[in-house]
């Protein structure tokens, strides 16, 4: 069965220079196991094909059932240099929550 990440998690994103950070928080312990399995640096990088042009770093915060991703070279130069409508990556958490997950 296929579900969307947003069915089992929520998140928030923002900017760090030209990198975006996306924090994803699982709704419960069982969902945290699922996101740990399905959200790897590779699957996130591939999901953001054409948007994230650099490496993806992945960190775990099991204490709050969360994963944190750093997407390098993603914001068109970052800050005030970027010509993007979403220059600060504020909507990228929502973009990741669109991801389909097989369970």
């Amino acid at each position: 069965m296929q579900i969307k990440l947003r069915d089992i998690a929520h998140g928030r994103s923002g900017d760090k220079g030209d990198a975006a950070n996306i924090g994803i928080i699982a709704n419960d312990a069982e969902s945290f196991e699922l996101i740990k399995k399905h959200l790897t640096a590779e699957t996130v990088k591939s999901h953001f094909k054409g948007i994230c042009l650099g490496d993806v770093e992945r960190y775990e915060l099991p204490n709050i059932r969360a994963l944190n991703f750093i997407l390098h070279n993603t914001l068109g130069g970052g800050g005030t240099v970027s010509l993007k409508h979403d220059a600060q990556g504020k909507t990228l958490a929502a973009a990741l929550l669109r991801m389909n997950i097989e369970i």
Binding site: G23, N27, K49, L61, A66, N68, T80, L83
Partner: protein, 455 residues
Amino acid sequence: MRDKIRIASGQGFWGDMIEAPYWQVTSGEIDYLVMDYLAEVTMSILQKQKNMNPELGYAKDLPRLFERILPICMQKKIKVITNGGGVNPVACSEAILNVASKLNVSGLKIAVVTGDNILDQIDELIENGCELHNMETGESIIPYRDKILSANVYFGAAPIVDALRMGADIVITGRTTDTGLTLAPMIYEFNWDMNDYDKMSAGTVAGHILECGAQSTGGNFSGDWKSVENFAKIGFPIAEAYPDGEVIITKHKGLGGLVNFDTIAEQLVYEIGDPAKYITPDCIADFTTIKLEDLGNNRVKVYNVKGREATGFYKVSCSYAGGYSAVGSLTYSWPEALTKAKYADKILRERLNQLGLYFDEIRTEFVGYNSCHGDLSKNIDENDINEIMLRVAVRSDNYKSVERFGREIAPLILTGPPSVTGFAGGRPRPSEVVAYWPALINKNLVSPKVELMEL
């Protein structure tokens, strides 16, 4: 020593809700009001204002705000700490003193924290071998020397603690970390040893939760956001801090918003890098040690925070002139809205090309289709889109090219695809690009100064 203090956030950025700090001081009991006004590029905007008028360069909202809240703060003994002094904390404090004097307030002590502005010391630093290498690219700042607009060191809680020990009622700083504003009153009130890094980290985490205002009380919450009560009168966060480092995040009862495990967790992951190494001038906090307990009734306990000694460096935020940019937009309606917008973009680019203009970048986005999620938007029915806003942005060192771009948008209305509207507000004008340059500086090369002004 007090057994607890209540620290209220009144502002998450310059431009945030003007009513929020007033609500914080009037809707319940608090001991401190902390307000963060400075984003990465705010300092350069303020520096430009100061270059034009030496009396400016701080958050101009502050004197007006103090007109409303100062009598209340004096009566309730609420201390106010803010980094809204920007690049001119002295002028900011003088403006607040003027307000106080008009209100016939007496016995007021304002502490000013300076020393963060190193714009005048850059040549000297470079001569002594400090090239302020860019933290992201590793480049030396020397080739950019003539374009630098501002350079400010991020100080931590220490100078604010000094200011409170001098008896300040109000502390006005330049570039201080957002987290330092909240940590400082805890150190001062509970006599914390600044080498106790678990305590420094506990206060830093509380500061991180408070620094974006209502983003921890239901604002911009991607979970069950429809359950957030009364957005119209949303309560900003309050940190109820205890001497042992435990903190309860809450809000005033009479105001709206939502404080629960989810809203706090979402703010904890906001704009962080490696969660085990949240670096400030005060400590390195380990966010993977934080424990949250949802106590119900909009109260969440934050405890068990661990951390370690800070690095030997301060972060420096520099900015430099990065050319010019402009953004133009037009809206196309059904039928074939997206196709029309794509045609218009192609025509525009051909015209810019014919004119021989020079751009570092031209970026086209279709708002209503792909401006937020890029290629992830491709699985919608393109033929059924009701309307699309074509958004074209350019950037160039060449002012004339950017200026001419602005004159090529409106003509598309009569010389391109049909059913187009939305050209209001005149031609897009070139704006100066202020580029950001983060660097590190050895802590012993700069030192904060604290000065008391009294009325």
